[in-house]
C-alpha cells in the first residue's frame, strides 16, 4: 500500500474529458513530476486533489485515510484540503497581508496555533526560503520570485502530507526562476512528498524520483527520470521530448 493512492480520477468539462480514470501512487518523501503537452489535464489533476475542481469520480487515500473526491460535505472537503498544500503559478498571496501574515494565516486560522507559536513557525519557514529580511513587505513590494518563495513558505508551514505545485516557475522572469527552483529542491530534499507540474525538464530530471507523462487525460508513461528521458518507450513520449529538445541523443531534423 502506498502512502498516497489516487484511484479512478475522472474529470470532464462539459463533454470534454480532461482526466480519464487516472490512478497514481506516491510513496512518502517521493517527488513525482507530471509532464505533458499543454491542455492534457496536468493542472486539473492537481486541482482535483484539493477540490478546487470537483471531479466526476475518484478517491484519494492519504496515509490510510480515504476520501471521496466527489464529496459535497464541507467538513470532509476541508479535512481533505488540510492533507495537502498548494503552490500556484500566480503565487496567490493574500494582497493585504505582509509576508509574515501570509504564512501565519493558515497556522492561526486553520491549525489554531497560538500567536507566539504561529509567529515562530512562520519565521522559521520564511528563514528557510530566504525571505527573513522581508517579513513586513506586502506582496506588491516583492518580485515574482520572492512572492513565490513566500508562497512556498506558506505551503510548507502547514506541514502538508502532500505538497502540490502547479507550474510554480511558469509566471516568473527567467532570471527569477533559479531562486524558486533552489527553494523547491530544498523542500524536496527535506522529505516533503511532492506532486509537481512543471515545464522545467532539466529540473525535473535532477529532482524527481518519478515522472508521469500525461496525455489526453491518461497516464501514458511513468518511470524514473532515467527511464523517461533515457529510454523512452512510448512513441508519443518520444515525440514530446523531441519537441522540447530533451531526448538524449536524438537527431534533430530541421
Amino acid at each position: 500500500m502506498s502512502y498516497i493512492e489516487i484511484r479512478g480520477l475522472c474529470k470532464k468539462f462539459g463533454d470534454n474529458v480532461i482526466l480519464d480514470h487516472v490512478d497514481l501512487d506516491i510513496e512518502k518523501g517521493e517527488v513525482v513530476a507530471i509532464i505533458g503537452p499543454s491542455g492534457t489535464g496536468k493542472s486539473t489533476l492537481l486541482r482535483c486533489l484539493n477540490l478546487l475542481e470537483t471531479p466526476e469520480g475518484g478517491t484519494i487515500k492519504v496515509d490510510g485515510r480515504e476520501y471521496d473526491l466527489t464529496t459535497k460535505d464541507g467538513k470532509v472537503k476541508r479535512n481533505l484540503r488540510r492533507e495537502s498544500s498548494m503552490v500556484f503559478q500566480q503565487f496567490n498571496l493574500i494582497k493585504h497581508k505582509n509576508s509574515l501574515q501570509n504564512v501565519e494565516e493558515g497556522l492561526r486560522v486553520v491549525k489554531r496555533l497560538g500567536k507566539d507559536e504561529a509567529r515562530k513557525k512562520a519565521l522559521a519557514e520564511l528563514e528557510n526560503v530566504g525571505m527573513a529580511d522581508r517579513l513586513y513587505h506586502f506582496p506588491k513590494h516583492l518580485s515574482g520570485g520572492q512572492q513565490q518563495r513566500v508562497a512556498i513558505a506558506r505551503a510548507l508551514a502547514m506541514e502538508p502530507n502532500l505538497l502540490l505545485m502547479d507550474e510554480p516557475t511558469s509566471a516568473l522572469d527567467p532570471e527569477l526562476v533559479g531562486e524558486v527552483l533552489l527553494t523547491i529542491r530544498k523542500a524536496a530534499k527535506a522529505g516533503n512528498t511532492t506532486l509537481l507540474v512543471t515545464h522545467e525538464m532539466n529540473f525535473v530530471k535532477s529532482v524527481a524520483n518519478k515522472i508521469i507523462f500525461l496525455e489526453n487525460g491518461k497516464v501514458v508513461a511513468c518511470g524514473t527520470p532515467k527511464e523517461i528521458f533515457g529510454y523512452p518507450s512510448n512513441e508519443r513520449l518520444k515525440e514530446f521530448l523531441a519537441k522540447i529538445h530533451m531526448l538524449e541523443g536524438a537527431e534533430y531534423n530541421i
Partner: protein, 248 residues
C-alpha cells in the same frame, strides 16, 4: 426690515443644530441597515442562490427605480396598514400611534441605501482576485473565514469611495424625513422659519450645515482610505539582514 439678514443665517445655526442628533441617528442607523442588508443582497446575487437571487434582483430594481420620497410615504402609510391588518387578523393589539415617526424614516432610508450599496458591494467583492480565494481554500479555511479574512478586507478598500458617496447622498436624503413628521435639521429649520418668515435665511443656514457635514465626512473617508491602503513604498530593510535573494 432688511431684505436679506446675513447675520441671522449664522446666528440661527446653533438653534437648528439642536436637531442634529436626529439627523445623525437617522444617518447612522440607515447606513448600518444599508451596509448589512446590502452585503446580504450582494452575497445572494454572487452565489446565485435560487429564488433568493430573483427576489434580490427584483428588490434592487424596484428600490432603485422609485424616488426616495415615494418610498418614505409608502413606509409611512404602509407599515401602519400592515399592523392594522395584523391586529384584525390575529387579534393582536399593536399600538400604531406609539411608533415614533423616525422608525418609518429609518426603515425607508435604510432599505433605499441597501439597494444602492448592494451593487457597490457586489462589484467590489467580485473585484477581489479569485486566486487568493483558491489559496485560502487550499489552506483549509472555511467559506466564512475566507469572506471575513480574505475577501471583505480587500473589497472594503475598493468599495470605500463609493460607499462614501452613498453615505453623503444619504445625509442629504435625511432632509426628506420631515415629510413623515420627523424633526430633523431641515424640519427644525422650517419650524424656525415658520415663526420669523425668514425662509431664505433658514435654507442658507441649512445649506451651510449640510455642506460642512459633508466636508467632514469626505475627509473621514479619505483618512479611512489611507488607513486601509497598502503603502506604495516597501519597508526599509535593515542592512545587516539583507540576504540578497539568496536561498540559504
Amino acid at each position: 426690515m432688511k431684505l436679506f439678514d446675513i447675520k441671522l443665517v449664522f446666528s440661527q445655526i446653533p438653534t437648528i443644530l439642536s436637531a442634529l442628533p436626529i439627523t445623525i441617528e437617522l444617518t447612522i442607523i440607515a447606513t448600518l441597515i444599508g451596509y448589512l442588508l446590502g452585503l446580504v443582497l450582494a452575497l445572494v446575487k454572487i452565489h446565485k442562490t435560487p429564488v433568493l437571487r430573483q427576489i434580490a434582483v427584483a428588490y434592487i430594481s424596484i428600490i432603485r427605480g422609485t424616488p426616495i420620497l415615494v418610498q418614505l410615504y409608502i413606509t409611512y402609510y404602509g407599515i401602519p396598514l400592515m399592523l392594522k391588518h395584523h391586529n384584525l387578523t390575529y387579534g393582536t393589539n399593536y399600538n400604531i400611534n406609539a411608533i415614533p415617526a423616525i422608525v418609518f424614516a429609518i426603515i425607508a432610508l435604510g432599505l433605499n441605501q441597501s439597494a444602492f450599496d448592494a451593487e457597490v458591494i457586489r462589484a467590489s467583492i467580485q473585484s477581489v482576485d479569485k486566486g487568493q480565494v483558491e489559496a485560502a481554500k487550499t489552506l483549509g479555511m472555511s467559506g466564512g473565514q475566507i469572506l471575513r479574512r480574505v475577501i471583505l478586507p480587500q473589497a472594503v478598500v475598493v468599495a470605500l469611495p463609493s460607499l462614501g458617496n452613498s453615505l453623503i447622498s444619504l445625509i442629504k436624503g435625511t432632509s426628506l424625513a420631515f415629510t413623515v413628521a420627523v424633526v430633523d435639521l431641515t424640519a427644525e429649520g422650517r419650524i424656525l422659519a415658520g415663526r420669523n418668515f425668514r425662509y431664505f435665511e433658514v435654507y442658507c443656514s441649512l445649506a451651510i450645515i449640510y455642506w460642512v457635514i459633508t466636508v467632514v465626512l469626505e475627509n473621514m473617508f479619505k483618512i479611512l482610505e489611507n488607513k486601509f491602503s497598502i503603502p506604495d513604498q516597501p519597508p526599509v530593510i535593515a542592512p545587516e539582514k539583507v540576504s540578497g535573494g539568496v536561498v540559504k
